[in-house]
Symmetry: C2
Subunit: 341 residues, 2 copies
C-alpha cells in the first residue's frame, strides 16, 4: 500500500502511541523512522516500528518519559532522555545546542538514559538549517572488540557530520544540499555477513571474528562472533575511533557503555541507557559565514574534478525527494502486523 | 652521541634559531620534536629539524611570526599562526581552549596560517593535565583521493583524542597515563609502501592508487600515485572521515585545503596555510569529574579482560619515560649536519 510520508508518519505514530508512547515521543520517533525509510535506509526505518513498540510494551522503554535538560554550563549541556525513546531527547539536545552555539560559537549536547537513535545525521539536519556545522555520535550494544581484543565491547558507534552549503534559488533541486556524512565504525555492516551466510559464501579476512574471538572467513561462524572495526586488516585505527566515540558518549556525559546494554534485537533486556552526543559549531564565530560557504564550494569543485565522485548524502536526498512527491510503498504484511500489534 | 632530552631540546632550538625562528617558536618546536623522538616517532621527530630549518631559510615559514588570537566568541576562537611554525600557535590555541572550556564547558580553537604540527595528540597533553578531554585534528598536503576519486585532495588528516584518568599516587609509573589516541586516516603509512618498494614486494589491494588513479598492488607504482583512506577496500568510510576533518580544519576556521598546500618534502613551495583544530570538553560540566573518572576505569577494566589488549598511548609513554631517564641517541651525522646547516 502506498502512503504519503505524512500519512505514514501519522500511522507509525499511532502504532507507537498504542504501545504506550506519549504524543511527543510517538510523533518525533515516527518522523525519524519515516525519514530513514524515505532515504532507503530500511534497517533504521519501518523495520524498527515493531521493535520499538515491543520495547515500550515490555518496559525496556518508558513511554511517558519527557526529555529535559538536566545540566548546563555555557555551551555544554546534558539532556536526560528519562529512559524514553531517543528521538525527542535528540530533538531537544540539538535545538538547545544550536541555541547555545549562537551565543558561544560552539556547543555540545549529550543525551543520557537513551535508546536507539536511528540515523545519526538526520538529527543534525536542524543544525544545517541554522547555517551551522554539526557532528553527531552514538554508542550501541557491544558488537566489536577493542584493539587486539577477542570479546565485543564497543558498539558500531556511528560518526556523523553535516556541513551546510550556500543556498542558491537558481540551483537545480539537490544541487546545494548540505554535505551529510554518516558511517558506523565496523568494516562492513553485519547485513553483508548475513547475505554471505545465506548464500554459503566466505567473507573476506578483516570483517569479523568467530565466537572464540579468532579471525574467520566463515560467514556463519562470523554471525556467532563479532564484527571487526574499520580497517582492522591493517591496523587498530577503527578500534581506536570506536573507543573515542564510546568514551565521548558515555563516560564524558554520563551514559552507559555499549557492553552494559542488552541487544536491541531481543524483546526482554535492560533499559539500555545509551548515549548520544552532538557538537554544533557556528562558522560565523570562526572563519565567518561567507568565507565558510565560499570555501566549501571550492573544495566541492575540486572533488568533482573526478567524474566518479559523488557527494555524501546526495543519494539519500534524491530518494527522500522522490518519497516526498510519490509516497512510500508499505508492505501489506507490515500494515497488517501494525493493526493487530 | 647520547644527550639528555633537555640538552637535545636546547640543541634543536639552537638550530631553529640559527635558521631564523624567534625564541618562542624555536623552543616550542624543539620541545615538540624531541617529545616525538622520545616516543619513538622518528618521522615526526629529529628528522624534521632540517626540513623546518630549510623552510625558515627559504621563506616558506616566517621565523618572526608571533601567534595570536584573532577572533573569539564564547568558547570558539581562532589563533593565527602568522605563517610561522605550528607549535607555538598550537600551544596558544590549546591553552586558550582549556581556559574557555573551564567557563563554557566546551571550547574549540582553530589554528590558521599554520604549518606541520607534528604529533597531534602531544598538543592535547595540556588538556589532560587540566583534567579535561581533548580532540585534535589537522590537515596536511594532499595525499589521498576523495571517495571514488582518482587524484589526491585530502591530507592523511590525523584525528587525535586524549582522555585523562584518575591520578593514583600508589600506582606503578604509567598505570594511570591518559588514554592517547592518534591516527592518520590513510589505510597504512606511506613508509610501509616504501619498504615494500625497496624489497621488491607487492602491497595488498586497498593501500594505494597509481599515478593514473587506478588501484595497484605494485609498490613502486603506488609511490608515484596516492595513498588510500582507511578501509577503502570495503567502503568509503575513511575518505568520508578525511572529508570531515578537511572541512573542520579549513573552511570552518579559515585555513587552506590540503590540495592548496605544497608538499613539506620540497624545499621550495608556498606557505602552506594549513589548519589545526582542537576541541576541549570539561567532563565536570557534563557527567561530573568523579563520575567521568570512575567510568573510564570501568571501561578500561572491561577492555583488559582480553590479555592482548594494550591501552592507546601506553607504548609511547613507556618509551618517553625511558628517554627522560636515559637520554636519546642522536646520530653523529645528524649532529654534524646541524652544526654546518
Amino acid at each position: 500500500m502506498r502512503l504519503t510520508t505524512d500519512a505514514l508518519t501519522a500511522r507509525v505514530a499511532g502504532v507507537l502511541r498504542a504501545a504506550g508512547a506519549n504524543d511527543t515521543m510517538a510523533l518525533s520517533t515516527a518522523r525519524g523512522l519515516v525519514l530513514a525509510e524515505a532515504q532507503g535506509l530500511g534497517s533504521h526505518g519501518l523495520s524498527r516500528v515493531a521493535q520499538y513498540a515491543t520495547h515500550l510494551r515490555n518496559g525496556r522503554v518508558v513511554g511517558s518519559a519527557q526529555a529535559r535538560v538536566v545540566r548546563q554550563r555555557g555551551g555544554a549541556l546534558v539532556v536526560d532522555a528519562q529512559e524514553g525513546l531517543a528521538f525527542p531527547a535528540c530533538d531537544l539536545a540539538v535545538a538547545q545546542a544550536v541555541g547555545a552555539a549562537a551565543t558561544n560559537g560552539v556547543a555540545l549536547a549529550g543525551v543520557i538514559n537513551s535508546h536507539h537513535c536511528g540515523v545519526v545525521v538526520d538529527h543534525l539536519r536542524a543544525v544545517a538549517d541554522a547555517g551551522m556545522v554539526g557532528l553527531g555520535f552514538s554508542n550501541s550494544p557491544a558488537a566489536m572488540p577493542a584493539a587486539g581484543g577477542r570479546h565485543p565491547i564497543f558498539g558500531t558507534n556511528p560518526i556523523a557530520a553535516i556541513f551546510p552549503r550556500r543556498p542558491d534559488a537558481n540551483a537545480t533541486p539537490g544541487a546545494r544540499d548540505a554535505l551529510m556524512v554518516d558511517l558506523s565504525l565496523s568494516e562492513v555492516a553485519r547485513g553483508k555477513v548475513m547475505v554471505a551466510a545465506r548464500d554459503g559464501k566466505p567473507i573476506p579476512a578483516g570483517w569479523a571474528l568467530d565466537a572464540n574471538g579468532q579471525p574467520t572467513t566463515d560467514a556463519k561462524a562470523a554471525l556467532a562472533g563479532s564484527m571487526l572495526p574499520l580497517g582492522a586488516v591493517s591496523s587498530t585505527k577503527g578500534a581506536m575511533l570506536a573507543l573515542v566515540v564510546e568514551l565521548l558518549v558515555s563516560a564524558v556525559i554520563g551514559a552507559s557503555f555499549g557492553f552494559e546494554a542488552s541487544s536491541f534485537f531481543v524483546d526482554e533486556g535492560n533499559r539500555p541507557h545509551l548515549g548520544q552526543l552532538f557538537i554544533v559549531i557556528d562558522p560565523g564565530a570562526l572563519a565567518g559565514t561567507d568565507s565558510y560557504l565560499d570555501r566549501v564550494e571550492v573544495l566541492i569543485d575540486e572533488m568533482l574534478r573526478d567524474d566518479e565522485v559523488r557527494l555524501p548524502g546526495a543519494r539519500r536526498e534524491a530518494l527522500r525527494r522522490t518519497a516526498l512527491s510519490e509516497g512510500i510503498d508499505v508492505p501489506d504484511a507490515l500494515m497488517a502486523a501494525w493493526s493487530t500489534g
